[in-house]
Amino acid sequence: MSTADKLMANARYVWTCWKVNLAAAMEYRLSFLLLAGMMFVNNAIWLFFWSLFFGRFPVVQGWELHDVMLLWAVSTGGFGWAAVLFGNFPRIAGIVATGHLDVYLSQPRPVLLSVLVSRSSVTAAGDFLFGIAVYLMVGDTSLRGMLLFALGLLISGMLFIAVMVVAGCSAFWIGNAEGMTQQLFNSFIALTTYPSDIFRGFVKLALFSLVPAGFISYLPIGLLRDFDPLFAVGAVTAACGLTLAGTLLFRRGLRRYASGNTIAMRS
C-alpha cells in the first residue's frame, strides 16, 4: 500500500469515527443540547464576570474587554473543535494507566489517531459554538479577519491536543499519572483564559516555553489585533513542534507499554 493510499485509508477511518460519534451524540438529542447549552452558559457567565471587571478597570496592561472576549473566542473555539473531533486527548494518561490501550492496539490504524478520534466531547460543542458566537459579535469579520481567526482556532486546538498528549505520555513511564495530568489540564485551560500580560518575569517566560498557554492567551493581541509576524510564526512553530513531539513521544512510550490483558469494548 503506497503512502497516499495509507493516508486516504486513515482519512476515511477518521471520517467514519466522526460520523459514528455524531450519531451516538444525537441518540440522546435532548441531553446533547442541554450539555452543550450548559457549557455555552458557563462561558457566558465568565464573560459576564469580565464585563464587570472591565467596568471597573477599563484597561489592564493594554487589554480591554474586547480583547478578553476574543481571547475567550479563540480559547473556547479551539478547545471546542479539538474536543469534539479528538475527544480523548485529555484522557490518554488514564487509558494508558488502566490498560485500555489494548483495544486500540488490536486495530489496523495508527494507535494515537485511533485513541484520539474514538471519543467526542458533547459539552465541547457548546464551547465551539460559543467561540464562534463571540467572534461574530466582536471580531473582525472581513476575509482577512476570518482567516486570522481560523488560524487562531487551529493553533489553539492543536496546542490543547499536543500539550495533553505529551502530558498523557508520562503514564508510560510513571504509571498512574491521571491526577497529575488532570491538574495540568485544568491549569492549562485556566491559563489560556487570562490575559497573558498580567504575568511578568519568569512566569511569563514559562507561559511561552514550559507551559505554552501564552501562545493561546496572546493570540487576540499578537495575531488578531496588532498582527505580529514573529509571534504568529512562533505560535505556529510551537503548535506544529509540540504535535510532532507528542506523536514521537507516544510512539516511544508504546514500546514500554505492558498490556493489562483488559477485555473491553469500545463504547
Binding site: 457567565i45 459576564f48 471597573r56 489592564v60 491526577g179 488532570q182 491538574q183 485556566a190 487570562y194 498580567i198
Partner: protein
C-alpha cells in the same frame, strides 16, 4: 431530663459520631487534599497577578473601599469557603441512582441531618486547610492579614455561610428525587455563587443595579458576608449580617424540609 430533650441529646450524639467518622474518612484521602491545595495555590496566584495588574501594583490605592491587599485576602477567604463544600449534590444523585438512598432512609437518623453532619465535618476541615494554603501564597505577595477583628468576623459568619451553602446544595440535591440528573442545576447554582455570590469580585465593585439584585438573594450570605467582614470589620454590620444569615437558614431549612417530605413520597427504589 424529659423525653424531648433526651431525644435531641441522642440526635446530637449521632450527628457528632457521623461527623467524627467523616473527619477520619477525609484524612485517608491525602492525595485529594494535595490536589485541591495545588489548584487553590495556582488559582490564587493567577488572581494575585490579575488584581496586581488592575491596581497597577499600587498598595495604597483604594477602589470601592478595597485596597489590593484587601482584595487578595478577600479572594483567599471566598476561595477557601467555596472549595470547602464537598460534592453534596452528586452524592445525593448517586444515592438515588444506585439505590443506596434506601439504606440511608432506614437509619435511625434524619436524612438531611446525616448529610449535614458529614458536610459540616468535611467543610470545616477543608476550610481550615484551605485558609492555611491560601495564607501561604497571599502573605508573601501582599503582607499579613492585619485587619483588626476581621478574623473574628470571618469566623463568626463562616459557620452560617457554610450552612447556607449546605441548604442550597441540599435543595438542588433533593431535586434528584424527581429528576435523577442534577448536574445541570448544580452547575447553574455554582455559577451564581461565582458571580452574584461575590466569589470572583466583591459585590461592592459591581454596578449599583446588580448590588440591589444581590441584596435580595441568599448567595451573598454564603460567600460575600464572611469574606468582606474578614477584611473590613464592622460590628454593627456583623449583627445585621448574622441576622440575615439566620433568616436565610430558616427559610431555606423550611424549603429543604418541605422538599424532602414531598420527594421521599415520590421515591421508588428497586433493590438497593
Amino acid at each position: 431530663m424529659d423525653g424531648e430533650s433526651k431525644r435531641w441529646a441522642v440526635a446530637g450524639r449521632k450527628a457528632a459520631a457521623v461527623g467524627r467518622i467523616a473527619f477520619r474518612h477525609q484524612l485517608a484521602y491525602k492525595t485529594d487534599f494535595a490536589m485541591r491545595g495545588f489548584f487553590l495555590l495556582f488559582i490564587l496566584f493567577v488572581f494575585i497577578q490579575l488584581w496586581s495588574a488592575a491596581y497597577e501594583g499600587d498598595f495604597s490605592k483604594s477602589i470601592s473601599g478595597f485596597t489590593l491587599k484587601q482584595i487578595v485576602w478577600y479572594l483567599v477567604f471566598t476561595e477557601a469557603l467555596t472549595l470547602a463544600a464537598p460534592p453534596l449534590c452528586s452524592r445525593i444523585e448517586e444515592e438515588v441512582k444506585n439505590g443506596d438512598v434506601a439504606i440511608r432512609l432506614i437509619r435511625p437518623q434524619s436524612y438531611a441531618g446525616y448529610h449535614f453532619s458529614v458536610f459540616a465535618s468535611e467543610a470545616l476541615t477543608r476550610f481550615v486547610v484551605h485558609l492555611a494554603i491560601g495564607s501561604a501564597i497571599a502573605w508573601p505577595f501582599v503582607g499579613p492579614p492585619s485587619f483588626g477583628y476581621g478574623w473574628l468576623g470571618l469566623l463568626a459568619l463562616s459557620a452560617g455561610a457554610l450552612t447556607v451553602t449546605f441548604l442550597l446544595l441540599m435543595i438542588v440535591g433533593l431535586c434528584a428525587f424527581w429528576v435523577e440528573e442534577t448536574s445541570g442545576l448544580y452547575f447553574v447554582l455554582q455559577k451564581l455563587q461565582f458571580t452574584i455570590g461575590g466569589m470572583l469580585l466583591p459585590i461592592d465593585l459591581m454596578p449599583e443595579w446588580l448590588q440591589r439584585v444581590c441584596a435580595w438573594l441568599p448567595f451573598q450570605a454564603a460567600l460575600y458576608f464572611p469574606a468582606r467582614m474578614g477584611v473590613h470589620f464592622d460590628s454593627t454590620l456583623l449583627v445585621k449580617q448574622l441576622a440575615i444569615q439566620i433568616g436565610w437558614i430558616v427559610l431555606l431549612g423550611l424549603a429543604v424540609s418541605r422538599m424532602y417530605r414531598r420527594g421521599v413520597k415520590k421515591l421508588h427504589v428497586n433493590g438497593g
